[in-house]
């Protein structure tokens, strides 16, 4: 009984951590620019697919991963420079459509540059499962959880202890005042997109040994990350993490105790319920006062 429950919990926490990373990407960009970036999932895809193909070209795996993160970051920069910055005064709906267009473009590009097959990566440290109270957890799941925790702590440090992190918060709260103190708002936006892309790519690399990847993998992961961000309250970093974990665990428990066919349905039921009963999410604040 306990073993079964723990088994579902571990699997839920693992996918929850991934959703949290993708959700954090949404939150970062939303905070800096009030754009909901529906191309977020493509960064996840670029991380996984990029690593596979760069490694296939003979580059050692860790370096391939690093290069894939850089590739995604550059695509994030390009998205901000070419699409978002050029249309700064456009309506939110226009900007959302632009990011959807960008995601289709990136996916098409990946299909051509890479291929349409499924690919996987070797687990970072073997596949020997670890037994915990009658359940097993794979070393790769521990990698996912561990790296997610480290990233969250780094982000926490960045936003609460560094002036640059606070400049991002200040820009999100009041861009005009931020410019008046000499913050280069365009540079802040660029940085947010780059950071967010890097986060997505890391998530994509971490999850590939478990679920494998292909050029379309960003669609579902992007949606799940979006759900995590919405559930936690758009723009709240803490909310995105909580939303991701809740979503992942609920999915895994639902799949385990009800039916795995409902796994994706559960995510969308939760998000609809959340939007209906708590329009600003678990940790979101109303109005423009959000951090």
């Amino acid at each position: 009984m306990l073993g079964e429950f723990l088994q579902y919990l571990f699997s839920g926490l693992t996918s929850g951590a991934i959703y949290a990373l993708v959700g954090l990407g949404f939150a970062l960009i939303y905070n800096a620019s009030h754009v909901i970036n529906f191309a977020q999932g493509e960064f996840v895809m670029l991380g996984g697919m990029g690593t596979v193909f760069i490694a296939a070209a003979g580059v050692p795996l860790p370096l391939a991963g690093l290069l894939a993160v850089l590739l995604a970051t550059v695509v994030g920069f390009a998205l901000e420079k070419l699409a978002v910055e050029q249309t700064r005064n456009a309506s939110v709906v226009t900007l959302i459509i632009i990011t959807i267009g960008a995601s289709i473009f990136v996916r098409g590009g990946a299909q051509v540059a890479f291929d349409k097959q499924f690919h996987t990566l070797p687990s970072f440290s073997g596949d020997t499962p670890i037994n915990i109270l009658g359940a097993t957890i794979t070393p790769q799941s521990l990698w996912v959880l561990g790296i997610t925790v480290v990233i969250v702590l780094l982000l926490q440090y960045f936003f609460t202890r560094t002036l640059l992190g606070k400049a991002i918060l200040a820009t999100s709260h009041n861009p005009m005042a931020a410019r008046l103190v000499g913050i280069n708002v365009n540079a802040i936006l660029l940085m947010s997109f780059g950071l967010s892309a890097a986060l997505g790519a890391v998530a994509g690399i971490l999850i590939t040994p478990i679920t494998s990847t292909n050029y379309e993998v960003g669609i579902m992961l992007g949606l799940k990350g979006f759900c995590a961000a919405i559930l936690g309250g758009l723009g709240s970093g803490f909310g995105a993490i909580a939303g991701g974990v809740i979503l992942g665990v609920a999915e895994a428990l639902g799949a385990g105790y009800i039916s795995s066919e409902y796994k994706d349905v559960i995510a969308f039921v939760i998000i609809l319920a959340a939007l209906f009963f708590m329009p600003s999410g678990l940790f979101g604040k109303r109005g423009t006062d959000r951090v």
Partner: protein
């Protein structure tokens, strides 16, 4: 001459709000810019800081043409603004707001500057770890001034610092403005509160719907019949 503006035009979309402003500020001067609601005072200050587009004219600062310079460049050159409505970073702490004021000087240790601000505005020290959004209007005004001063400005642009404050607080703010002038900061003070502003100013300009209509020594403007009728209710 520290600031020299010639023929400045600016607006919003097709609506022109400033129709060619000529205005100058000498080093060490306190210059008041007064005018009614919607005259274009805020638009003018924003243009000086580079956060509002300019369609014609030039802005020279310390001999350099900065008409097209970025806002951050202007802060580095020594122009700081205390914006209308304070615009503090509400969710951040008082001290973080002050630190962000020194954003262009990051890398330098802000400790001495922070102490200076806390000496100038003791209430901010007491509230240093509170979210700026929880401060009263007067306290936010002090914070906005402290934030601007953290940049070590040579030219301080003040947009209606007395707006919405009690008479007691207005007096306090104007005392600080005078003190800053005595410390050598050049100040361009925008006010609807024309009497208080002109009383402490070396020179003044009267702005009416985007055009400068009068200029002269502060005391002369105070005595001017036109000004008395239009702005002082006398």
């Amino acid at each position: 001459m520290l600031l020299d503006v010639k023929g400045l035009k600016s607006g919003y979309g097709r609506i022109e709000a400033l129709h060619g402003i000529d205005l100058s500020v000498n080093k060490g001067e306190l210059v008041a810019l007064v005018g009614a609601n919607g005259a274009g005072k805020t638009t003018f200050l924003r243009a000086l800081s580079g956060v509002q587009g300019v369609t014609a004219g030039t802005i020279r600062y310390a001999g350099e043409d900065i008409t097209r310079a970025s806002p951050q460049k202007r802060v580095t050159l020594g122009i700081s603004q205390v914006p209308e409505g304070r615009q503090v970073f509400g969710p951040l702490t008082v001290e973080d707001n002050l630190r962000l004021g020194a954003f262009k000087r990051r890398g330098e240790d802000p400790a001495a500057d922070l102490e200076r601000m806390y000496g100038l505005f003791p209430i901010l020290k007491k509230k240093r770890l509170d979210a700026a959004g929880t401060l009263s209007g007067g306290q936010q005004q002090m914070l906005a001034m402290g934030r601007a001063l953290m940049a070590h400005p040579d030219l301080l642009l003040l947009d209606e610092p007395s707006m919405g404050l009690s008479p007691l607080l207005v007096g306090e703010i104007f005392n600080i403005v005078q003190m800053l002038k005595e410390q050598g900061v050049t100040i361009l003070l925008v006010e609807q509160n024309a009497y208080a502003a002109l009383a402490i100013a070396d020179r003044g300009y009267v702005l009416e719907t985007g055009t400068i209509t009068l200029t002269g020594a502060g005391t002369d403007l105070l005595a001017n019949d036109q000004v008395r009728a239009a702005y002082l209710g006398m």
